[in-house]
Amino acid sequence: MLCEEARACMSARRKSSFDPEGSPQFETHLEHCQDCRELYQGHVLTEQMAMAWTDEAVPQWDRLAAHMPARQSTPWFTTLLPLAACLIMGFLVVSRVELVSDGTGWSMSFGKEPMGEAQVQAAITQALEAAALQNNQDMKLLLADYQLHTQQNMENMVAAASHQMRGERKDDLTGMVAAWSETREGDMLWVQERMQNIVLRQDRTHKNLSKIAKYVQQ
């Protein structure tokens, strides 16, 4: 028997019923091999030492220290809810921040209420009324100026004709003046009527603009 075989026998001794001491070949080898003999003695002593060990009871200890320290599954909402809140906040910030820049400088506001439909309508109406009033006043001034200028021209022409003409011609001239005055009044009525039409047309234009503005606002 070789040393390697003898040592394999020693190892097999514990796990099987094999008893090397009952094997003549093993005993013969040990008689001649001091190294294996010492190993075998150490082997037997260590086995006996292992068998002599009496298990100790485990003292009380904190099993929680080694007890599921971090493997608890986290509920989905602990991660998704904060994420959703952040997204909503971001959306609000982006959509509700108003940056206003005018002649006095610029300003930034958050969460300002938009103008309501009634407010928009009132503002448009007010602007249109102001424009119509201004337009009316301008027209009246223009008409008055035209009337005054025409009347002065007529009077100047009548005065010049009266100075040059005598007798029947003067009577004729007076008749012509009366006719001209009548014509002038007719003309003035016609002009007033045309001006009224222009004002009405502008009023319609303003109403159309109001409708367009309302549509844009919506």
Partner: protein
């Protein structure tokens, strides 16, 4: 039908977060691990520390346990690595404290006399093992106290079987020359 659940079943449940399964697993092996740690460290306090380290390491690596080997083999592979790591961090306590072997710590003692004998034997065993280098002590522990084969130890420690045999034979020769062992046997 109503027998205790297998190690694999407990591991699966523990991985699903069932604390009681993990608790059962610890209670099933804490005795073996604690006594292993006692023999490897030589005193109770270090044994407790080592045992807790081992179970923490086992827990952390639980997801990597595939069931290809016995759970106990896998556990003691981790225990071996933890022990090596423990030796790196702390010097082995050569002087065993006389009062360490508390009386309530011993199992299987029916009489005061048997209790004293067991206490003395355990102390001698720890003293004998303490005289071995750490690598040899670990091989003796796994071979004689855990009943593992060279192949199993080789697989656990990642050391060749020839190296393990060399370590073991060196340890056996030293043990043969130790007077403490004679007291044990």
């Amino acid at each position: 039908m109503f027998g205790s659940p297998s190690d694999d079943a407990l591991v699966r449940k523990a991985l699903k977060g069932q604390a009681d399964a993990w608790d059962k697993l610890i209670r099933r092996y804490e005795g073996r691990v604690y006594n292993f740690a006692m023999r490897m460290t030589g005193n109770r306090d270090d044994a407790m520390d080592l045992m807790q380290n081992i179970f923490l390491a086992v827990y952390r690596g639980l997801a990597s346990f595939r069931g290809e080997s016995e759970f106990s083999s896998w556990l003691f592979a981790i225990a071996s690595f933890r022990t090596t790591d423990f030796y790196r961090r702390r010097r082995f306590t050569e002087d065993l404290d006389e009062g360490e072997m508390a009386e309530e710590g011993l199992l299987h003692t029916q009489s005061p006399f048997g209790h004293v004998v067991s206490k003395q034997r355990n102390k001698c065993v720890m003293q004998a093992l303490a005289q071995l280098p750490e690598e040899q002590r670990l091989v003796v522990e796994l071979k004689f106290f855990q009943d593992l084969t060279f192949d199993e130890i080789s697989e656990q420690l990642g050391v060749s079987a020839n190296t393990l045999k060399s370590r073991l034979y060196g340890a056996l020769k030293k043990i043969k020359a130790m007077p403490e062992v004679m007291h044990v046997v």
